[in-house]
């Protein structure tokens, strides 16, 4: 939990949440909370204020935040609730609690540049519609450099296994070749 505590302090979360008086406007407008009683942005702010770090990471519902920004617009105290939710996801990911779907998406973006590559059928449709040829996007060599610069392989291991694959891929190492 030391890593997590440092993370929250580094991102100044306790101070950023401080003005919350738990009115619940964020929860009232939340489109996910409408359908899922166990997802409540107000409660995440409360957990930060109470220092309930373990609960935050263990609570997988943090990943249900659709980042629609309704809470951000409605907070009477101008707390950036949605931004805090992003930081909580970052904290959870760092502790090895990222959903498989999102870790996979990360692997695709850092491995091929895009979340999805066009199927043959889509390319054929482009041609039929008279659209210009697709630019392939980032050069694979540059993407590989970028991935190394960002310490991505170690991060992926962290997101998927909490860094348990091996000591050489510990948290926070931005390894350069």
């Amino acid at each position: 939990m030391e890593v997590l505590k440092e993370f929250l302090e580094e991102h100044d979360l306790p101070r950023r949440a401080q003005a919350c008086y738990q009115c619940g406007s964020c929860a009232g407008g939340c489109p996910v909370g409408r359908l899922r009683w166990d997802f409540n942005p107000r409660r995440f702010i409360e957990m930060i204020l109470r220092g309930q770090l373990e609960e935050i990471v263990k609570d997988r519902t943090v990943w249900l935040c659709a980042y629609c920004l309704t809470c951000l617009e409605h907070c009477p105290q101008k707390i950036e609730v949605s931004e805090i939710m992003v930081q909580l996801k970052n904290a959870a990911a760092r502790m090895g609690c990222a959903p498989e779907s999102e870790a996979k998406k990360g692997g695709l973006i850092m491995g091929q540049g895009w979340t999805d590559v066009p199927a043959k059928r889509a390319l054929k449709k482009r041609e039929e519609l008279g659209l210009p040829n697709l630019d392939p996007g980032i050069d694979p060599a540059e993407l590989a450099d970028l991935s190394r610069t960002l310490g991505w392989p170690a991060k992926m291991d962290l997101f998927q296994n909490g860094g348990r694959s091996g000591p050489e891929t510990g948290p926070g190492e931005n390894k350069m070749e």
């Binding site: 489109p31 996910v32 990943w63 970052n90 999102e102 999805d116 630019d135």
Partner: protein
């Protein structure tokens, strides 16, 4: 808009890989308006600002800043066709302007791959461009086949207006501006409850059932209020409402049959483009019965099929 300068087009992952017809309609409409688009090379995913940003914000920011650095400093703003990409780029610009420590980290990351970000011409959403640079009266002038009698439910989506303190375009809870563009085509825009609800697509990977239900709840409200079609401005919302509509009907046992149009598709139709030339056959929810009934009730002076 007499200048020759062009706008670099950023289409994003979903249009590239799955929705080429949205790009087709956008290029068609911009061409008819005399707006030149240029091709952006060497880009990546914007990157996606919900799950991917949730993994690691610094990585997300670095990729976004790199994409912004690809456009020529002296060019027009990059034009995006996706509200998610728009949001990522606008937030990236804001964070890099306000947060010194992240700005320095991102600068170092980019330096390692011989790139550099500095605030440039930025980014523009196609729908905002249409409202601000073209305007409803100019659109009406180009309409050759008004969509009279068509009752549309407009879905604004989350990332076009919010955060309102950054984007500052329209009221984030009760927006009205883009509906003017739809009415400029002769169509009607209906009111329905909870109009600003999220489509739910961003959490499709994390909880597919919940995501589908969010989409269904919103479509049900539109349908109950008399909508004949949905109009939207984001390819992610398009996937949810068009591609997933059949599954919503199966899972929740209720017929929707609501054709979904991307804003430039609707504009293209009103300008007289045919459904075929716009690639509307690629829609999963058939648009033809609606278009047939719309054109057939019109006077004989406006034959179906377009030019």
């Amino acid at each position: 808009m007499s200048e020759n300068e062009s706008y670099p087009l950023y289409t994003g992952c979903l249009i590239r890989s799955r929705l080429p017809h949205l790009e087709k309609s956008a290029r068609m409409v911009f061409d008819r308006l005399g707006v030149k688009l240029s091709e952006l090379t060497g880009a990546t995913c914007c990157p996606e600002g919900v799950g991917f940003r949730g993994l690691d914000e610094e990585v997300w920011l670095t990729l976004a800043a790199r994409n912004l650095s690809l456009a020529d400093q002296s060019s027009r703003p990059m034009l995006t066709l996706c509200s998610g990409c728009y949001s990522t780029f606008r937030e990236c610009e804001h964070i890099l302007a306000e947060n010194k420590s992240l700005r320095e980290k991102v600068a170092r990351n980019l330096e390692n791959i011989n790139r550099q970000y500095s605030p440039g011409p930025g980014v523009e959403h196609f729908a905002r461009f249409l409202y601000e640079k073209v305007g409803a009266p100019a659109l009406t002038e180009l309409v050759s086949r008004p969509l009279r009698g068509l009752k549309t439910a407009f879905h604004q989506g989350c990332h076009f207006l919010r955060p309102s303190h950054l984007i500052d375009f329209d009221d984030p809870d009760h927006p009205t501006k883009l509906e003017e563009l739809i009415r400029a085509l002769g169509a009607e825009t209906i009111d329905y409850p909870r109009k600003m609800l999220c489509c739910g697509l961003t959490i499709a990977g994390v909880d597919p059932d919940l995501s589908l239900r969010m989409g269904f709840e919103k479509m049900k409200l539109m349908k109950d209020c008399g909508a004949q079609a949905v109009v939207l401005i984001c390819p992610a919302c398009m996937l949810q409402f068009d591609l997933n509509q059949r599954r919503m009907e199966q899972v929740f046992g209720r017929e929707l049959s609501l054709p979904v149009f991307y804003l430039t598709e609707l504009i293209g139709l009103a300008m007289g483009e045919s459904a075929d030339s716009l690639g509307l056959a690629l829609h999963r929810t058939d648009v033809r019965p609606l278009l047939d009934s719309l054109w057939n009730t019109e006077s004989a002076a406006e034959p179906p099929g377009g030019k």
